[in-house]
């Protein structure tokens, strides 16, 4: 029983952070149909930036996280302007292909700068918190909390604030929204930058418990797209829930079956989900 509960709690924590970076991806892909295949590599970049900040200044991870988030504002803007702005009529196709190239570039650059040896915040043992018999890795617990708070925040912001309404207006009908005086270019730029900042936070938070190598990005972006689709494209709450489901499924498979099978779980879920549940786990229509 203790084993099961630990597995479930860990699964939820892993899933919460999956949910968080999927929401970042969902902001650009789910909401505005911008395809950023390099998203996972930017998470890897965030992990390396966090590592470098901590190595250079010896600050705690929780100081590094906001610094990484800040650094992702210019990174996100630059990426949008150089690689995404003005992609043409077949935007989804062009963006997918261009960001595939960007992903390859980033991974190769990371390999050349940092080498293939993993960087880890706690190379030997991760500090843990224990609540009676339940032992949990501290960084993972905090990452899960950050994910939860940010998700609720983003969701409320999109629903309640003026800017959030502008974003949803552009999603609903871009042309009508522009005639109502909403600058759709600003919305697209803003959503893209926001999506990248979320990648930065998620990456930095994950650095607390996950060692980073240059090739981790692909797994993240695939997981992200899988979760966005399972959650229902355009549905941020759905994405967060789907993230937790995938995290749980992975952790339980690893605990009770095999860590080898664990890697198959998200892909299998995706294929089943995409072919059988075109509207996502919550079954809601788009946005």
């Amino acid at each position: 029983m203790h084993f099961f509960v630990t597995a479930v709690v860990l699964g939820v924590l892993v899933g919460a952070i999956y949910g968080l970076f999927s929401i970042g991806l969902g902001l650009s892909f789910g909401v505005l149909r911008m395809v950023n295949f390099a998203y996972g590599d930017f998470i890897a970049v965030a992990m390396y930036i966090a590592a470098e900040i901590i190595l250079a200044t010896h600050v705690s991870l929780y100081v590094a996280i906001p610094l990484v988030a800040l650094s992702f504002i210019p990174i996100g803007y630059f990426t949008y302007v150089v690689f995404f702005r003005g992609t043409g009529r077949r935007a989804e196709h062009d963006q997918l292909v261009i960001s595939l190239g960007l992903s390859l570039l980033l991974e190769t650059i990371l390999t050349n700068v940092f080498g293939t040896q993993p960087y880890a915040l706690y190379p030997t043992s991760i500090p843990s918190v224990h609540l009676s018999w339940l032992y949990l890795p501290r960084p993972q617990l905090i990452a899960g909390l950050i994910a939860l708070v940010l998700t609720v925040g983003i969701d409320l912001y999109l629903r309640r604030s003026r800017i959030g309404r502008a974003v949803r207006a552009v999603v609903a009908d871009r042309e009508v929204a522009t005639t109502l005086g909403i600058d759709d270019r600003k919305v697209f730029t803003g959503a893209f930058v926001a999506s990248m900042v979320v990648a930065g936070i998620a990456g930095a938070a994950m650095y607390g418990y996950l060692p980073v190598t240059p090739d981790v990005g692909v797994n993240f972006v695939l997981l992200g797209f899988i979760i966005v689709v399972l959650g229902g494209i355009g549905d941020l709450r759905g994405a967060f829930l789907a993230g937790i489901c995938v995290g749980l499924a992975e952790t339980l498979t690893a605990s009770y079956w095999s860590t080898n099978v664990q890697d198959i779980v998200p892909y299998a879920l995706f294929i089943v989900g995409a072919t059988m549940l075109p509207r996502g786990v919550l079954g809601k229509a788009v946005a």
Partner: protein, 623 residues
Amino acid sequence: MRTRLRVLTPYVLLALAEIIAYRSSVASSYWANVTLQWTLFATMAVAFNVISGFAGRLAFGNTIFFGVAAYVVVAGDVNKWYPPLAGLAIAVPACAVLAYGMSYAFRRLNGLMFALATFAVALILQQVVTISGVLGSAAGLQEPLSVNNSLLDLAFSQPVNYVIAGLVLLLLAVVVSHLIARSNWGLMLKAGRDDPVAATTSGVNVRRNMALAWAVSAAITALAGVFYAQFNLFVEPVSSFGLVTVNSIAIPAIIGGLGYVWGPVLGSAIVPLGLYMNNLSTGQGGISSPNDLLYGAVLIVVLRLWPGGLISVRDTAWVSRHLRWLARRTPQDTAHRPLAAQTAGLAPAPVVTAEDRVAPEADRPSRPLLQVTDVAKRFGGLQALQGVTLDVDAGEILGLVGPNGAGKSTLFDCITGVERPDSGRVLLNGQQISGLPAHAVAKRGITRTYQTPRLFDRLTAMENVQCAAVARARGDGTARAEAALAAVGLAGHAHVPAAKLTLIERRMVELARALVTEPGIVLLDEVMTGLEESEAARIQELIRQLHGRGISFVIVEHVMGYLLPLTHRVAVLHQGAILASGPPREVLRHPEVLEAYFGHVDAHTEPSDQPVMAEARPEHADQ
């Protein structure tokens, strides 16, 4: 004869390249290795283009077939189950069947989703292989070195022989791709890529074509996988299924230009370039995987400059001005004359007087051609149609009116098989057509146009029509397509890309595409909306001519002034149900109809001579 020669030129060039490659490959096994890798990845890029360029579905998971074929051959040889040649004979059809099946399983996914789903399958296979001992786990399988140069072993003692095999394979792939691109089937494939809905309602079986295209692509990829494995006598999971190989297949094809026969071959030039750069930087502390840097950078730069890929440079204005020999040769169009002038040369239309137009009830032929019985359709919480019953007689022109959102387009979708009705039946000539797939409905003789014209934008006006012609009946559709284009007065625009046509021209091409299927009945969805009066008059005239040739019509139109002179009968659709139907004048004074359109109506309003609704057309934004 000249054109035939020109068609052959690329093959001659390729043969020359083969001779050069052959000569250089003899020189060293390094060059043999580079040439073989180039030929095999070029072959797979050409195969990738068949599904991703012609059929428009980015199949990142094409590594599935590369890996499966390699494993089928190597595992069979290592475990002494069967010789490699038998492995090839198993792997190639197996991969084709696998692709065909997966295409149906993933039929609802498009764009990114399809790309990711296929890639997910590849990653699952990679993982399965990694954990199965009989397939060598992560370490892979090593074949025994066989140097007996026998065909049965598909293993050659001389590296040059692999190069020859690779070149033959590339030639085969290019010839297959070329034949597809030039065939009627290829035309239908591209139509399904540009607009699957419009293609199916033109009679094209889009899903089957996609599945067949992927099967062809898979078979060619599998062949390349077999030779790659036999050259290395070794397979392992990551390079068989993983992203590295996806990149080496997809990126050259995309850089060169998807959708063009020679695009992937051109783009595959990056393969030897990458290998060369790798070779330069090994052993001297150079950067790692410079080929990935090259692939990534070239991909981004090319796609940012020319979204169609390198080969689309031929279509740029600069090339057609300065390097005319390089530009794509398109047949010369006749001068851009106004449409009316061209229509003037048509066979004289039957004279239709005002009296004929609104035929008395008794004179109308009354054989029911199309019978819609109690059709209902619900989308989530919206009951779009709630039991629509409607007959259209042979030779009739029926006007279908109703406020926006009344369900007119949904009714058309249910009749043409784009949507399946939740309940109710649709009969054509007494035979049930509801429940049939849209392409089968189209072949029974119902066709339609769309509120916003849906053309195959990457094809020319001519090809748009030709595609429907060959979907209708085999053979060369050119003559039929030309006739249909001439009938709508667009003969002079035959070779204009559909994306460059004006609204009226797009509507006309859509009409021509509908006519070329020799329909018994045509459903027109707001075909005159948004046009100037003279343009609308041209379409009215065309409808009368076609009606004179025995075609029935159902016309949805908001502009009563355009609609009423054409129709024998008008049906009013309101909130998903037929409110009234009958001769136009009666129906439009029907109290319930007035109520639906204007809300409460004063009973004392004098019926004017003009149909009331002519001035009160509902506001319609172009949707």
